[in-house]
C-alpha cells in the first residue's frame, strides 16, 4: 500500500549507477523511529541493492526513542549487517553507538540529520537543520514583505536539533532588521492532538497579531497547514517543512507559501552507495568540499530546497536532479579509493 510513492525516482536514479557488482556489503538504514519522512528510504534501499549489488534494508525501531534505536542497531549487528546509515536518535547520544560500530570496523554515517562532532560517523548526508530553518524563515520574511510578526512551531525540546532551529529562526529574524519580531515559540508538539490544541489556541489568542508562521517539525507543519485551511486564512503567511501531502496541497491552494523540502530518497540511495565504497576500502577525503554546520565539519547537503506553489508539482524531479548531481561527483569529491 505504501510502496510506489517514490518509484519513478528509483528508475531515474538507477540510470546513473552503472552496472551492479556483487559485494558483501549489508547496509541497514535505520531511522529514529516510525515516521512518514523516512518512507522513501525503503525504496532507496531497494534501488541501491539492485543497482550496486549490495544488500540494503530499511529497518525501523518500534518507537521514537534513542534506546529503542540503539537496541535495533545492536541487534542488526548481530544479524550480520556491516554498514549503517542512521538518523541520529539524539545528535549527541547516537555517537556512542556509532563509536562501538567503528570498534567492530563497521562503518556508519549519519543520514538526514547529523551527529555532533567528534563523531565516528564517516559523514553526515542530509539536511543542515539549522540552515533549513534559517532559509525557511528568510523565505517567510520575504513573503511577508520584509516585516511583521512571526510565530515558530517546532518539535520536542529535548531534541538537540530543536534548539538549533529555534536559534536559526532567531538569527534570520535578527538579520531582517527591526521590522520582524518573533512573538511566540511553541515547542513539544510532535503529537497531533496537542499540536492541534496549542496551535489553534495560539491562532485564537494572537491570530490577528501574527503575520507569518514558520514550522520546523513535521506534525506542527501538517497541523498548522490544516488550521489555516480551516480558517480560510490567506493573510497569515506560512512556510512549512517536509513533504506531507497536507502541506503540499495547502501550498497548491495558496494557504501555505512553501515548504523546506529535503531529499530522503537521495539520502538513502547515495548513502548506501557510499557505504559500499567505504566497505571496499575507500576512505573519506579530508580536503573534500565538506560543508561546516553547527554540528559537524563533515556535512554533505543532500539537497534542501524551498518549494513554493510554482514548483510543488514537480519538486520530485528537482530532487532527482540534486541526487544525480551529487552522485555524479560523489566518489571523486569525497572518497579516496585505491
Amino acid at each position: 500500500m505504501r510502496v510506489a510513492r517514490m518509484l519513478p525516482l528509483a528508475v531515474l536514479a538507477a540510470g546513473i549507477a552503472g552496472p551492479a557488482m556483487a559485494s558483501d556489503t549489508k547496509v541497514a538504514l535505520v531511522p529514529g523511529g516510525p515516521h512518514p519522512y523516512f518512507a522513501a528510504w525503503e525504496n532507496a534501499a531497494a534501488a541501491a541493492a539492485a543497482d550496486f549489488g549490495i544488500e540494503a534494508e530499511y529497518r525501523v525501531p518500534a518507537a521514537w526513542e534513542l534506546s529503542k534505536q540503539n537496541e535495533m542497531i545492536e541487534s542488526l549487528v548481530a544479524q550480520g549487517f556491516n554498514a549503517f546509515l542512521v538518523f541520529p536518535g539524539d545528535a549527541n547520544g547516537t555517537n556512542a553507538t556509532l563509536e562501538e560500530l567503528a570498534a567492530f570496523d563497521i562503518p556508519s554515517a549519519a543520514l538526514a540529520g547529523c551527529t555532533v562532532d567528534p563523531t565516528a560517523a564517516s559523514f553526515c548526508l542530509g539536511t543542515d537543520v539549522a540552515r533549513s530553518a534559517y532559509l525557511g524563515t528568510k523565505e517567510l520574511i520575504e513573503a511577508m514583505g520584509g516585516s511583521g510578526r512571526i510565530a515558530h512551531f517546532t518539535g520536542f525540546l529535548v531534541d538537540p536539533n530543536t534548539q538549533l532551529r529555534i536559534e536559526a529562526v532567531e538569527q534570520a529574524v535578527a538579520e531582517a532588521g527591526g521590522g520582524v519580531e518573533i512573538i511566540q515559540v511553541i515547542a513539544d508538539i510532535d503529537a497531533p492532538e496537542p499540536a492541534d490544541e496549542k496551535i489553534n489556541a495560539f491562532l485564537a489568542a494572537r491570530g490577528s497579531e501574527v503575520d507569518g508562521i514558520v514550522t520546523t517539525a513535521w506534525v506542527p507543519s501538517v497541523v498548522a497547514a490544516t488550521s489555516l485551511r480551516n480558517l480560510g486564512d490567506k493573510r497569515i503567511r506560512m512556510v512549512g517543512i517536509d513533504h506531507d501531502e497536507v502541506v503540499l496541497s495547502a501550498i497548491e491552494d495558496g494557504f501555505v507559501d512553501g515548504t523546506m523540502l529535503q531529499n530522503p530518497y537521495g539520502q538513502g540511495y547515495i548513502g548506501s552507495y557510499a557505504m559500499d565504497l567505504i566497505r571496499q576500502g575507500c576512505t573519506m577525503k579530508e580536503d573534500a568540499p565538506w560543508q561546516q554546520t553547527a554540528q559537524t565539519a563533515h556535512f554533505i547537503d543532500s539537497g534542501t530546497a524551498f518549494v513554493d506553489a510554482d514548483q510543488v508539482k514537480d519538486y520530485q524531479a528537482a530532487m532527482v536532479a540534486v541526487t544525480d548531481e551529487i552522485m555524479a561527483t560523489f566518489k571523486d569529491d569525497f572518497l579516496v579509493c585505491n
Binding site: 516510525p34 534513542l66 540503539n70 549527541n92 547520544g93 520536542f156 529535548v158
Partner: protein, 335 residues
C-alpha cells in the same frame, strides 16, 4: 533469591514450581533456546554484550519502580528524576570539573532528594502518589529543561564513559553485574533490615503497621527517596552507555522509561497493591523483556510488525505464567 514475605519454604519441588521466579527463569530459558536456535547471531559476543547492557539498565529502572510499588504507590517520575539527576551529574563532571565518583554520588543523592520531595508531597498532601508524581514528572523535567536549556553534556570524562564499555569475559557488560549487585542489596534491604521489613508491612496494611509502631509516613518517604536514587543510578548507567548526559534519554518528560519500569516488577510478581516484593522476579522480568525484544528484532519479521509480536509474546508469557501457577496450586492442594 526468593520472595521476601511469603514462606514457600519446605514444600519441595511443587512449592518451587509454584514460585513466580522459577516460572520466569524457565520461560527465559525456553526463549533463549528458541532465539539461539533460530538466529545464531543471538549468542554472538557482540549481541550478548549489547543485550546484557540493556538488561542491566532496565533492571535498575524496574527496581526503581519496584521500591515504590511496594508501598502501594507508583512513581511516574522515575524517568524525570533519572534525567534531571544525570544532567546535574553531567554538569558537575563536564562544567564544574568535579571528579567522576563525587559527581556520580552527587547525581544519586540528587535523585534521592527529588524522590524525597515526591514522598513528602505524597505524605503531606495525603494524595495518591500517582497524582503527585504525575505533576512532579512535569515539574522536575521542566526544571531540568529550564536549567540546561535542553543542551546535552557530551564531553564527559573518559573514565565515566568507559564504564559503559566495561566488559567481562568478552561478552558481559559491566552494567549487568552492577544491576545484580543493586538487586542483591535491595533483597537484603527488604529481608534483612528492620527498615525494609517495615516498608513492606506498611505497604501491606498501613493501619496495622501504624498501630504496631511503624512510622508509615517515613517508610513512604524512604521508599520514594530510594526510588529516586535508583532512578538516578539507572540514568548514570544510561549516560555512560550513551557517552553523554542527554535531556532526551528517557523520552518526552521521562515517559520512555515507564514501560520497562512497570513491566519488570509486574511480570516479576510484585503486587501493585503493595506489601509484596520480589526482587529476583523484577530482575528476571527485566531480563525476559529485554531478551524478547532483542530476539524479536533479529527474526526476519517485517520491521513494522515487531511491536505487535512483542505484545503477543508478552501476553503469551503472562498467560503461560498464570497457567503454571494455577496448575502448581492445584497440584499442591491435591497433594
Amino acid at each position: 533469591m526468593a520472595t521476601a514475605t511469603t514462606g514457600r519454604g519446605g514444600r519441595g519441588a511443587l512449592g518451587l514450581l509454584a514460585s513466580n521466579e522459577v516460572g520466569l527463569a524457565l520461560l527465559i530459558a525456553v526463549l533463549v533456546a528458541i532465539f539461539a536456535t533460530v538466529n545464531p547471531g543471538f549468542t554472538s559476543p557482540f549481541n550478548l554484550f549489547a543485550l546484557s547492557r540493556v538488561m542491566g539498565i532496565d533492571m535498575v529502572i524496574g527496581l526503581s519502580m519496584m521500591v515504590v510499588l511496594v508501598t502501594g504507590g507508583l512513581n511516574l517520575a522515575v524517568g524525570s528524576i533519572g534525567v534531571a539527576s544525570v544532567m546535574l551529574g553531567g554538569w558537575a563532571m563536564q562544567v564544574a570539573g568535579v571528579p567522576v565518583l563525587p559527581s556520580m554520588t552527587l547525581a544519586v543523592a540528587f535523585g534521592a532528594f527529588l524522590g524525597w520531595i515526591n514522598g513528602q508531597l505524597t505524605v503531606r498532601m495525603g494524595v495518591h502518589s500517582f497524582i503527585v508524581t504525575l505533576a512532579t514528572m512535569s515539574l522536575f523535567f521542566g526544571a531540568m529543561i529550564v536549567a540546561t536549556r535542553a543542551e546535552a553534556f557530551n564531553a564527559l570524562p573518559r573514565s565515566f564513559v568507559d564504564l559503559g564499555k566495561l566488559r567481562y569475559g568478552g561478552f558481559v557488560s559491566g552494567m549487568l553485574p552492577l544491576a545484580l549487585i543493586v538487586g542483591l542489596g535491595l533483597w537484603l534491604f527488604f529481608n534483612r533490615t528492620s527498615l525494609g521489613r517495615e516498608i513492606l508491612a506498611a505497604g501491606a496494611n498501613p493501619q496495622a503497621a501504624e498501630l504496631s509502631g511503624v512510622r508509615v509516613n517515613r517508610t513512604i518517604v524512604v521508599a520514594h527517596a530510594l526510588s529516586g536514587a535508583l532512578g538516578a543510578l539507572a540514568g548514570l548507567m544510561l549516560a555512560a552507555r550513551n557517552g553523554a548526559a542527554l535531556p532526551s534519554m528517557a523520552g518526552h518528560i521521562g515517559m520512555g522509561w515507564l514501560l520497562p519500569a512497570f513491566l519488570a516488577p509486574v511480570l516479576g510478581g510484585t503486587l501493585l497493591t503493595g506489601g509484596v516484593v520480589s526482587v529476583a522476579g523484577t530482575v528476571l522480568g527485566a531480563a525476559m523483556v529485554t531478551i524478547i525484544t532483542n530476539g524479536l528484532l533479529q527474526l526476519q519479521i517485517g520491521e513494522f510488525w515487531v511491536q505487535m509480536c512483542l505484545g503477543l509474546i508478552l501476553l503469551a508469557a503472562v498467560l503461560l505464567d498464570r497457567a503454571r501457577s494455577v496448575i502448581a496450586e492445584r497440584r499442591r492442594s491435591v497433594a
